[in-house]
C-alpha cells in the first residue's frame, strides 16, 4: 500500500479500501522503523498528521474530497510551517518555530493533504548531496553508503523509501531534479513564478522555485494543480489563470520534436549513462517523438555564472539571520558586533559561510562589474540559447546528472567538484524554465534519471511526455529494498 502512487492511493481512499488515518499511521510506523537509518525526516508531526487525516476522512465522508484529500505527504524543511520547527538544515534555525505557513503548505493543507513531517536538506538548500545539513546527511535508500543528492535529499529519500506518498522540494540549481535522479523518483522544477515563494526560506530569490517530488509524473501533476497559481504575496509569482496539469497527460507523443544538446552528450558523460539515455530515446521514438541534435553554446558558462548570482543573492538573503529577532544567538555577546560575528559564525555551516563570502565579494565595490554584472550578461546569453533551441524543438532531453549517486564523503572536500554536479540542471534555473527528472534506467543497482526541459509554462507538456514514458516503462515503479 505505501508504495502506491498518489493517484492509486486516492482511488483506494475513495473505494474505502483504507482510511487516511490508517494510511497515515502506516507511514508513521514505517518512518519510525526506517528513518533512524535514513535520516530523511528532521521533524515529525504525528499528532497533527493523525488529526489532519481524521479531518480528511470526515471531509471525504461529507463528500468533500479532492484528489489529495487524506494523502500523507512531507515538506522540505525550507517551507515555513506554523507552530512547527522550520530549521532549513541549519543550526541557525534549529530553534525556529515559524509563526506562519508557506503558501505551498497552506494550499496543500487546504486541499486535504496530511503533513507527516519536515524533511532533511542541505543547509539553506546549499549543497548537492545533503551533506551540509546541520542534522547530518540523508542516506540514499538504494545504498545507504551513498548520498541521496541535494538539496531536497530528505524529500527524495522519503518518497523513494515509501516514507510518504509525495513530498515538496525546492530547486535553485537542480535541488529537486538531481536528488530525484539519485533516488529513482520523479521531480519537477516549475517555470520561475509558477509557484509562490511566500514562506519558502530564500536562498537565491531569482532562481528558487518549489515543486513536487513524487512516484510518477501523474502525481506531480496532481500536486502542481494544488500548489501552482497566482499569489499576491509574491510579486514574482505569475498572475496567470489556473491550469489543470493532468489534462494533457494522455495526449499521444506523435509529432513531438525533442532536442538533444550536443553539450550534454559530450565527453563529461559516461558511456553507461549515454547508453541508458539512448534506450529512453528509442522508447520515446517508438511513441512518436522525433529527435534532433541542438546546441546550447553557452551552457558551459552556467556553473560559473550561477556561482556568482546565487551566492550574491544569498549573501543578502541570509543577512536577516543576525541573532537579533529569531534563530541562533551566541552565548553572552559583549556588544552588537560580537553578537553578529559569533551568532553568524557559530550558526552557519562552512558551505553557507563560503557562499556568503563569495557573494559578498562579487557585489563589492570594484568587483561588481567583473562578477555580478558579467554573470547577469551570461544569464541572458544562456536564456537566448534556449529561446533559439525552442524555435526548432518542443522539448530538450538529456541527463539530469553525469552519474548515479556517489558515496557519502566522496566529494565534500572539494567545493568545485561538488558544484559541477549540477552542470546539466543549473542553466534551466538561470533561464527560469521548467525542467523535470524522471527515472530512465538502473546502473549498478542505482537509479539514473533523465532530464526534460521545456519552454516557459510548458509543464503540462513535460508531464505529458513523462507520463507517456512511464506508461511504457517501469523504471519509476522500482523500489529500493530498505
Amino acid at each position: 500500500m505505501l508504495s502506491k502512487t498518489v493517484a492509486e492511493l486516492a482511488t483506494a481512499l475513495a473505494n474505502k479500501d483504507v482510511s487516511s488515518v490508517e494510511l497515515t499511521q502506516a507511514y508513521l510506523d514505517r518512518i519510525a522503523q526506517l528513518n533512524p537509518a535514513l535520516n530523511a525526516y528532521v521533524t515529525l508531526t504525528p499528532e497533527r498528521a493523525l488529526a489532519q487525516a481524521a479531518a480528511a476522512d470526515a471531509a471525504r465522508a461529507a463528500g468533500q474530497a479532492t484528489p489529495l484529500t487524506g494523502i500523507p505527504i512531507a515538506h522540505k524543511d525550507i517551507f515555513c510551517t506554523r507552530d512547527v520547527l522550520t530549521a532549513c538544515g541549519s543550526r541557525m534555525l534549529a530553534n525556529f518555530t515559524s509563526p506562519y505557513d508557506a503558501c505551498v503548505v497552506e494550499r496543500l493543507q487546504a486541499a486535504g493533504a496530511v503533513m507527516l513531517g519536515k524533511t532533511n536538506m542541505d543547509e539553506f538548500a546549499m549543497g548537492s548531496s545533503n551533506e551540509t545539513s546541520h542534522f547530518g546527511p540523508v542516506h540514499n535508500p538504494w545504498d545507504q553508503a551513498r548520498v541521496p543528492g541535494g538539496s531536497s535529499g530528505g524529500s527524495a529519500a522519503a518518497v523513494a523509501a515509501d516514507l510518504c506518498a509525495m513530498a515538496t522540494g525546492t530547486d535553485t540549481g537542480g535541488s529537486i531534479r538531481q536528488p530525484a535522479s539519485f533516488c529513482g523518483i520523479t521531480g519537477l522544477k516549475p517555470t520561475y513564478g509558477r509557484v509562490s515563494r511566500w514562506g519558502m526560506i530564500a536562498f537565491a530569490s531569482s532562481l528558487d522555485q518549489a515543486g513536487p517530488l513524487s512516484k510518477s509524473a501523474e502525481d506531480a501533476a496532481l500536486m502542481m494543480n494544488v500548489i501552482a497559481g497566482a499569489d499576491a504575496r509574491d510579486s514574482t509569482c505569475l498572475d496567470i489563470p489556473a491550469e489543470d496539469f493532468t489534462a494533457q497527460l494522455s495526449k499521444p507523443l506523435t509529432g513531438l520534436r525533442i532536442g538533444l544538446p550536443r553539450e550534454h552528450f559530450s565527453s563529461g558523460l559516461s558511456t553507461s549513462v549515454q547508453e541508458i539515455l539512448q534506450l529512453a530515446i528509442r522508447k520515446l521514438e517508438s511513441l512518436g517523438a522525433t529527435f534532433r541534435d541542438i546546441e546550447l553554446p553557452n551552457n558551459h558558462l552556467s556553473v560559473p555564472a550561477y556561482y556568482v548570482i546565487a551566492p550574491a543573492e544569498a549573501s543578502a538573503n541570509l543577512s536577516r539571520f543576525d541573532g537579533a529577532r529569531f534563530g541562533y544567538r551566541c552565548e553572552n555577546p559583549v556588544n552588537l558586533e560580537d553578537m553578529y560575528k559569533r551568532s553568524r559564525g557559530e550558526g552557519f555551516g562552512d558551505e553557507v559561510k563560503r557562499r556568503i563570502m563569495v557573494g559578498t565579494y562579487a557585489l563589492s565595490a570594484g568587483y561588481y562589474d567583473a562578477y555580478y554584472k558579467k554573470a547577469q550578461k551570461i544569464r541572458r546569453l544562456i536564456k537566448e540559447d534556449f529561446d533559439t533551441a525552442f524555435k526548432d524543438v518542443d522539448l530538450i532531453l538529456g541527463p539530469t546528472s553525469p552519474h548515479t549517486a556517489f558515496k557519502l564523503g566522496e566529494k565534500n572536500s572539494d567545493p568545485v567538484t561538488m558544484y559541477l554536479e549540477d552542470i546539466y540542471t543549473i542553466a534551466v534555473n538561470l533561464a527560469g524554465l521548467p525542467g523535470m527528472s524522471l527515472p530512465a534506467g538502473m546502473l549498478g543497482g542505482l537509479p539514473i534519471g533523465m532530464q526534460l526541459v521545456g519552454p516557459a509554462l510548458s509543464e503540462s507538456r513535460l508531464l505529458n511526455v513523462a507520463h507517456q514514458f512511464q506508461l511504457h516503462t517501469d523504471w519509476h515503479t522500482q523500489r529500493p529494498e530498505v
Binding site: 517551507f79 515555513c80 522550520t86 532549513c88 534555525l93 525556529f96 515559524s98 509563526p99 506562519y100 508557506a102 515563494r197 511566500w198 514562506g199 519558502m200 526560506i201 530564500a202 537565491a204 530569490s205 531569482s206 499576491a232 504575496r233 509574491d234 510579486s235 514574482t236 550574491a312 543573492e313 549573501s315 543578502a316 543577512s319 536577516r320 539571520f321 543576525d322 537579533a324 529577532r325 529569531f326 552588537l336 553578529y340 559578498t360 557585489l363 563589492s364 565595490a365 561588481y368 555580478y372
Partner: protein
Amino acid sequence: MTWETVIGLEVHVQLATNSKLFSGSSTHFGAAPNTQASLYDLAMPGTLPVMNEEVLRMAVSFGLAVDAEIGKRSVFDRKNYFYPDLPKGYQISQLDFPTVGRGSLKIQLEDGSDKIIAITRAHIEEDAGKSLHEDFQGMSGIDLNRAGTPLLEIVSDPDLRNAKEAVAYLKKLHSIILYLGISDGNMAQGSMRCDANVSMRKKGDTEFGTRTEIKNVNSFRFVEKAINYEVQRQIEILGDGGRIVQETRLYDSDKDETRSMRSKEVANDYRYFPEPDLLPVVIDDAFIDAIRATLPELPDARCQRFITQYGLSEYDADVLTSSRDMAEYFEAVVALCGDAKLSANWVSADLLGLLNKQDLNISASPISPQSLGTLISRIKDNTISGKIAKTVFEVLSDGETDVDAIIEARGLKQVTDTGAIEKLVDDVIAANPDQVAQYRGGKEAVFGFFVGQAMKLSKGKANPAQLNELLRKKLSA
C-alpha cells in the same frame, strides 16, 4: 581669502500612506513599540515585499510638481548593511533607476530675486526602525513600527550658496509636499528629515571642495544653524591651511555644533544590487497623465493667480500661498466677504500676528475663516468700523465665534443714525469754542481734534464717514 559655500541637500520625506511600502502594516505614528510590525517588517524567513502602489502615485505626483523626468521603469535595489533596526540586513531603495529623475524648483532669495535649484533625483526607499538606548539596563531596544515606512529621498544639486538659501529651498519643498498632500511634513516627528552636504571653495573656483554630510537635522532653524556652524568650522580649518575630512557629522542642537560620527559609518560598501523579490515598476503615459490630472494647484501657480485674480502685491501673494492651508484660509475669507485687499491685510497682518504670538499653525487657528470673513463683511457693510473690528477680532481670538452676536452683545454696532451723529457734532462744537475759532480761522489741522472728540464721545461707534461729513458741514456753517 573669500570663500564660497556650496550646499546640497538630501531630504527624506515620509509619505503619508496608510500602510507601509512593502507590507500591510499601519504607518500611524505613536503606537506602542512593535505593534505595527508584520511578519515582513520583522524580516521573518520566507516573507516577501509587495509594493504599495499609493507610494508610486505620490512619488510621481512629486516628480510632476517639480517638473522632473518620470522614470517609466524604476528598479528597486538592495542596499546592504547590518544594523539592529534594519531587520532584513538590507534596505530596499532605488539606485540607478529612480522613479523621479531631474527636476527643479524656484526659491525666492532675500533680495526678492528668484533662483532655480536643480533637483538631481528623488527615489523611493524604506525607512529603518528605531533603536532605543535608554531604559533597557545597558541593552538596546528595537522598535520596528517605523521600519518599512515609505520615504521619498529628494536629492538636490549642490546649487545652494548659503544657509538661508538652503532653508528657502527646504521651505519650498515642504510647501510643495503639503500642497500635494503626500506627507504631513512634520519635522519634529521625523516626517521630513534633512541631511546637508556642505563644502567650501575659493570664490571663482569651479572645482568643489571636500564636503561633509551633516545628518539628523530636524527643523528649519536647525538646518540654518547647523550649516552656519559647519561653514565657520570649515573656513577656520581651511584658513589655517588645514584640510577638510570627508565624513558624516551629527548636528547637536543642544550644543549648537556638528561633530564627527564614527568613521565606520562612512566606510560602508553597500553592495547594491537589483532586488530580485520585486519586478521593475513600469508605468506608462496614461498612468502619469492620470496623476497629472489630479494635481492640485501648486504654490507658484497659486501665487501668480493671487496677483492677477485678487490684485495682491507679489509680497502678499507670496506670504498667502506659502502653505496650502494659508492659501485655502485666505480664499475662504475672500469668498465670504468679497474684498481681497482687506482679507489679505487681515490674514497676513492680524491673523498671522496672532498665530505667531501663540505659536500656532493656521490649521489650528482659533479664528475660523468664516468668522474672519463675517467680520470683514461687517466692516464693509458699515455695521462696525475698522477700529471696532480689532476689538471684535480680539474677542474672536479668545474663543467666541459668532461675530454678529459679539457686536450685538457688546453694543459695538456703529452709529449711523444722522440725528445721533448730528447731536454728537453739536455737543463737541459747543464744548470747544476755542478750537472752533481756530478752525474757522483757517487752521485746518484742528479738524482731527474734533473727529477724535466726537469719536470718544460715541465710544468709537460713530460712522467715521458720516461724522466727517457732518463735522465739516457744521464747522463751515
